[in-house]
Amino acid sequence: MSDFFTLSVLVATFASGVRLATPYLLAGLGETVGQRSGVLNLGVDGVMLLSAFGAYWTSLETGSLLLGVGAGLLVGLVMGVVYGIITVIFQAEQGISGIGIYLFGLGFSDLLFEEMVGTPTPIKSLPKYSIPGLSRLPILGEALFEHNLMTYAAFLLVPLVALLLMKTTFGMNVRAVGENPEAADSLGVSVGLTRFAAIMVGNGMAGLAGAALTLGLGIFQPNLTQGLGFIAVALVYFGAWRARGVMLGALLYGIVAAVVLQLKARELIPLEASDLAAMAPAVLTIVALVVVAGRIEAPAALTNPFSRH
């Protein structure tokens, strides 16, 4: 075990955890905005898959990672329009609609990949960018400041999303329509428009999460997310619908997974227990969710469609 508790290994483990946490964080932050407005989106994983394919294919064809990120964002926004029409305009049941979006994303991204690419083909992945000065800090430098730009963007979005929700008029409207849409409506807030905008923000960030995933790996294959989007939705509950809480949940999930991988790589987990240990991040997240579940309150109007009539 002493092999693990060395500075270099601990730093590498934390850095690995941060990398693993990035797509969860981006998707979770977006879903937080959506849920605070009262809209649950179980289709996050499907949006991520479509966005990941869009980002991958664009980068494969153009060689530009920036265009890839843009494509991922664009696909997320398009899916946001679709989900907004389904849930806000047609007021469809959100749980079922979300599952529909997920299945559409899963199947359509698979189809597009098979028709347009075929075999997994590596692309240039997002390069690491060492932040001048900060990356030379002892311990923290390597762990926190030697990542790709999408990772930095994800963590920068934590305070920005918190500010958006708590300090802006749009954020207040989002919270109002998520808690009591009738009251918000009586005060002149457009519930539909606010929810539609929140859905667009959420899906756009899911799009960025998909782009971060595929461009960080430098590869795409069918069902690349492996249910990552569903864990992101769970992390919103874990984080009590707050950006900071979602970040802590994503980091917990990522770091526990990284610890397990590092222990395995150093033969500190017996091969017989390897499969069991692989479940550790999910089990720990579930346990933490159970512990905090009683102390948190979801937005009161979550999953409730709004109609004046």
Partner: protein, 352 residues
């Protein structure tokens, strides 16, 4: 008395012809013996650098039977599913395919659907489909089901089972990996400790250890989690591994880590050269067509199941495909060929 013609000239001609035939046969044997030094056995192949090393599709189908494949991942996953799709194509058959059925329930519906629509042979390509097959196969006694990887047919008369002795190729590549590793540490990324993945891991570890190297194994708990496989490979590199290998569909991420760190990679299931043309040393490729051809013959003859088939180095169902773009020392490659011979003649045990 009519004088008879002397037989001597005829006998002489026969003797000359016979001697010529013997001479030609002897020359053929000598030529074959001389040539054997240069030609590789059919359980070994070396790709020409820069060429597509994928399977050749047969022009004429070996059977008129209708065939369907239900598989868990994409048809072109460069791993488990592709090995079966390529094998059926190699027999000249155009199968119906339902791929990407990671969910067993979806696979079960596809298997039942194909059987219900009258397909002659349904290939359920995934160990995890066994439970569903036990329920479906008795409902369609006229349909032949081919299921793997498994070493048993579950007592069903219309189910053939197949399994690769993946430990054999794993052992061979383990010895090669140990020979090229300078640190003596090899990193391995696997999905779960079961099926052919477990066999490959066991064989590879035994082979590498027999040659003095240590293998660190990480099972990610998933067949398709690319981010986790990527980080697992990164952790191995951090722990000192200078050679990497892995199995299942998620290894595309681990291969990228090998590329980023200029580390040799060993593949299994399908040829993975296209993912890292300069770094894939060799791939153990499953040639399911070896057993499928026999299964189709049996089905045409009226036997729909009840037998278990195994891919081995001996029956050429397992082929070690060396990458022509990777400069492997001749003595190391010769050592691999000797290891293959040893496994086939039983003088080397893979320990699995």
């Amino acid at each position: 008395m009519q004088p008879q013609s002397s037989p001597a000239p005829a006998m002489s001609t026969v003797r000359v012809v016979r001697n010529l035939v013997v001479l030609l046969v002897a020359l053929a044997f000598v030529a074959a013996a001389c040539g054997s030094d240069d030609e590789e056995a059919s359980n070994v192949a070396t790709s020409e650098c820069g060429t597509d090393s994928s399977f050749d599709e047969a022009t004429e189908p070996v059977t008129d039977l209708s065939v369907a494949i239900v598989a868990p991942s994409a048809s072109q996953d460069l791993a488990f599913t592709q090995s079966m799709v390529d094998a059926v194509a190699a027999l000249g058959i155009e199968p119906q395919i339902t791929d990407g059925t990671f969910q067993v329930e979806a696979a079960a519906e596809a298997i039942r659907g194909y059987a219900d629509s009258g397909v002659d042979v349904v290939i359920a390509h995934g160990t995890q489909f066994g439970g569903s097959l036990a329920e479906i196969a008795p409902d369609f006694p006229e349909t032949s089901f081919v299921w793997g990887t498994s070493s048993e047919t579950q007592g069903l008369d219309n189910v053939f089972a197949y399994t690769p002795a993946a430990d054999q190729g794993g052992y061979v590549m383990g010895t090669v990996a140990a020979a090229i590793s300078e640190s003596g540490t090899i990193g391995m990324v696997g999905p779960i400790d079961a099926g052919d993945a477990a066999l490959y891991v066991d064989g590879f570890v035994a082979g590498a250890e027999s040659a003095g190297a240590n293998v660190n194994v990480s099972f990610t708990g998933s067949f398709g989690d690319v981010p986790l496989a990527t980080e697992a490979a990164t952790a191995h590199v951090g722990a000192g591994a200078d050679v990497l290998t892995g199995t299942a569909q998620h290894v595309v991420g681990a291969i990228n880590v090998a590329s980023a760190n200029d580390i040799p990679w060993f593949g299994t299931q399908a040829n993975q050269e296209s993912l890292a043309p300069e770094l894939v040393v060799a791939s153990q490729v499953y040639h399911w067509e070896v057993v499928l051809a026999d299964i189709f013959d049996q089905v045409e003859a009226g036997t729909l199941g009840g037998e278990v088939y195994e891919l081995t180095l001996e029956n050429n169902g397992l082929v070690i495909e060396f990458n022509g773009c990777y400069e492997l020392a001749e003595d190391v490659k010769n050592g691999a060929l000797e290891t293959i011979d040893g496994i086939i003649d039983g003088s080397i045990s893979t320990g699995a």
